[in-house]
């Protein structure tokens, strides 16, 4: 710490690895005080996923600017935020309408580095996320854990354009460096959006987050939602969020975004990966803390069903709301075929919780991995699961499947057809590296 005998604006300042910080320049208490609570008490309502995500961000006192650009099916997020802000004549919070998704991402770089104690959320989908890519790859390495891009999953790329929800957008961005968390159901969406910045802004992690949910199926369909009072949301978040020890542009004398020689590039990337891997350590703690505070399940690596005895005949790995259809057919199909079945719906996509997945699946005889995103190989999840199991001396056989691409419903007949394929493998018959299923048929 340096003292000053200057005559002009003397202030405490400290040296940090990222430059000098003047901790008294920004007083966050007035920001907290300027927050107008959206909900004073716990309320139950019916809401769609975009509304649930919007409410969560609106309840955070640390969110003061909401940059956005509309794209189906995420548009209602920014519309909801804009409507709520517009309905409060005295709020000092702002909606920032940008001219393109790339501009939104650039805006978040500047805003999040200006003040590292505030949270800057946005929502996008599909090619909108692709349009951000040049900057999301920078953000992923930036240390700006106070950036949150809510990705409303939609098939990415055109030829053909498809506005329904599959996670090919988020899964095409796994190397951007964001913490990617999938949610299914309105309650899980709401709860995930509240927890994501806490994870990203943890001083051991400092990595932006990308919570996501399926477009149309979850973004547009209504279901029951319990909304916590703002005070409780912020009390819980503040318990985890200490003032950032590193300077921002406004309270620092610092430089962000330097370029480096290849020699030093290695160190930056190692540091980024280490921060990223700490997600595996802190996510369960944050999830447990959330559950303890609110009484609902918090963040987890995956949701699991049917693993009372881990030595199952067929274990399914999938994600998203269609996993619920699997849950509906699981026991019936198992009884009919005299086989035990279980499954996990992935929540943490990146970093992939390799060890936890291996532990859960290691005693299964066959693992059926259902991918809903287009992939030029066996599927994103399939490759991750194969890798997770690769350390086992006698790993389960992995059956790769694609279903529900472009947001198509994965119907009960389709699940049964895929499970039949897993049974085929269980019986020792050869199966192809992957197969595509739709409406009860193999395509």
């Amino acid at each position: 710490m340096s003292a000053t005998d200057g005559t002009k604006a003397p202030m405490r300042h400290f040296t940090t690895p990222s430059g000098e910080i003047y901790p008294d320049v920004i007083d966050l208490e007035p920001v907290r005080a300027a927050h107008h609570a959206l909900y004073e008490s716990r309320e139950e309502m019916t809401a769609d996923g975009n509304t649930a995500a919007a409410i969560a961000t609106l309840q955070m006192w640390r969110c003061v600017i909401y940059p956005g650009f509309p794209i189906t099916p995420s548009t209602k997020w920014i519309e909801t935020v804009a409507a709520r802000i517009a309905s409060d004549p005295t709020t000092k919070k702002r909606v920032k309408l940008m001219e393109a998704e790339h501009a939104v991402a650039d805006y978040m770089v500047g805003a999040a580095s200006a003040c590292r104690d505030l949270i800057f959320p946005t929502a996008t989908s599909s090619v909108g996320l692709d349009h951000m890519t040049e900057t999301t790859r920078s953000l992923g390495a930036s240390g700006l854990g106070n950036v949150m891009i809510i990705d409303v999953y939609r098939a990415t790329a055109n030829f053909p354009l498809c506005i329904e929800g599959d996670p090919s957008d988020t899964l095409a961005h796994r190397d951007d460096g964001f913490i990617q968390i999938a949610a299914r159901g309105k309650q899980q969406i709401y709860d995930t959006v509240i927890q994501a910045p806490v994870l990203g802004m943890h001083p051991e992690i400092l990595t932006p987050t990308m919570p996501g949910y399926y477009g149309i199926k979850d973004s547009h369909r209504n279901a029951r939602l319990v909304v916590e009072p703002d005070a409780e949301v912020n009390t819980w978040m503040d318990k985890w969020l200490a003032p950032c020890a590193l300077p921002g542009l406004l309270n620092g004398d610092t430089a962000f975004g330097n370029c480096v020689t290849s020699r030093h590039f290695q160190g930056f990337k190692v540091s980024q990966k280490r921060r990223y891997e700490r997600v595996l350590e802190f996510l369960p703690r944050i999830g447990a803390s959330f559950e303890n505070h609110f009484g609902r399940p918090g963040l987890a690596f995956f949701d699991a069903v049917g693993f009372e005895d881990p030595s199952v005949d067929v274990a399914v790995v999938s994600m998203g709301p269609d996993f619920g259809t699997f849950e509906a057919v699981r026991e019936g199909w198992g009884r009919k075929n005299s086989l035990s079945t279980a499954g996990i719906a992935m929540r943490l996509l990146s970093p992939f919780p390799r060890d936890a997945v291996r532990e859960r699946l290691k005693k299964a005889k066959v693992v059926l991995v259902v991918n809903q995103a287009h992939h030029m190989g066996r599927g994103h999840l399939t490759l991750d699961v194969v890798d997770a199991l690769s350390d086992l001396s006698s790993p389960p056989k992995v059956v790769g499947a694609f279903a529900g691409m472009g947001g198509a419903d994965v119907s009960e007949p389709t699940w049964e057809r895929m499970l039949d394929q897993a049974k085929h493998a269980l019986e020792g018959h050869p199966v192809p590296p992957y197969a595509v299923f739709h409406e009860g048929m193999t395509l």
């Binding site: 920004i26 007035p30 650039d106 770089v109 962000f256 370029c259 020689t261």
Partner: protein, 338 residues
Amino acid sequence: MSSYKEIAIRESCFRPGSTLCPGCMEAVAFQNVGRVSDNGVKTVFTIGTSCAEVSSLFFPNVVAWGRGEAPPDDYTRSFSILHNVFESAPTLAESVRDVADVLTDMGALKQPVQVLSSSGDGGALAIGLRAMLHTIHRRARVTLMVLVNEIFANTGFQYSPATTPFADTSTTPTGPGHPGNLQPPLDYIHLVIAAGAGMVAQVSPAHGKMFNKTIERSLECEGTAVIFVPSPCISGWKFEDGETIHLATLGAQSGVFPVFTWEKGKGGSVKDCSIDASERPAVEEFLGMQRRFTHLVMKDNATGRFIARPGRENDLARMKDWVQSNVERLYHLADLMV
């Protein structure tokens, strides 16, 4: 307004250690902007990828930015800089401005902040035209500085939308039947006025007092101030050491990039460049100093003046027509009272 002398003795935020080419106008511009902005207000600078960025923020080289040998005790003299991708500088500046404004509005930030951005003409007028125009359109209270060296210098001197006609660039090379760039430059001054800029200028540090005064005024602008800084590039324009300021002066006086200042609602003026071509230095003298135009002009040993190369007379005439239209265009724009 501060006097030239008062500004000259201030401390710049651009420090020794950059690897910009010796003779680069960008370094001169940064030195001056750095002194002007040492005005008792916290400075945040944003920068898109460009020569300036890779030459001044290159770890493990020194960071060539900041005031003083150590972070100042006086917060108002502290300096922060943010780099992101080519087109991003205006948007970055706008977002920093917004956060500062919201925090100030809420009573969380008591200190004023000034925000400037720096882009190259590639970053601002090619890949980043969208970003720049929309930041202006939203009336962001920032100063956008565009260093116009008329090429993508950072990637090896390729054509940009600001390239002067007939210039030899690495993507508009000259050869038999190929006289270099044939595309007239984008009318970027008109564009930013139309987008809603509060203040627009074209001036380089070759006009030192005017440059500093313009930057100082821009920091007080209630809307977006856009300063185009003609920036002779010693490597891309291929001129002799020590001629940077001379070339910038000659380029302005001959009508290639006249000094121009304009403010919303007040109109503007063209300085040091007559609308009458006969009262301006011959453009051939400007061209002759640079090897990027060596296919167009040559020195007449008899007179010591530059003249059209044999067979290039029509091209030179077209070049002079463009210069005249360029000057007249700016005189017209100066009359705009939007």
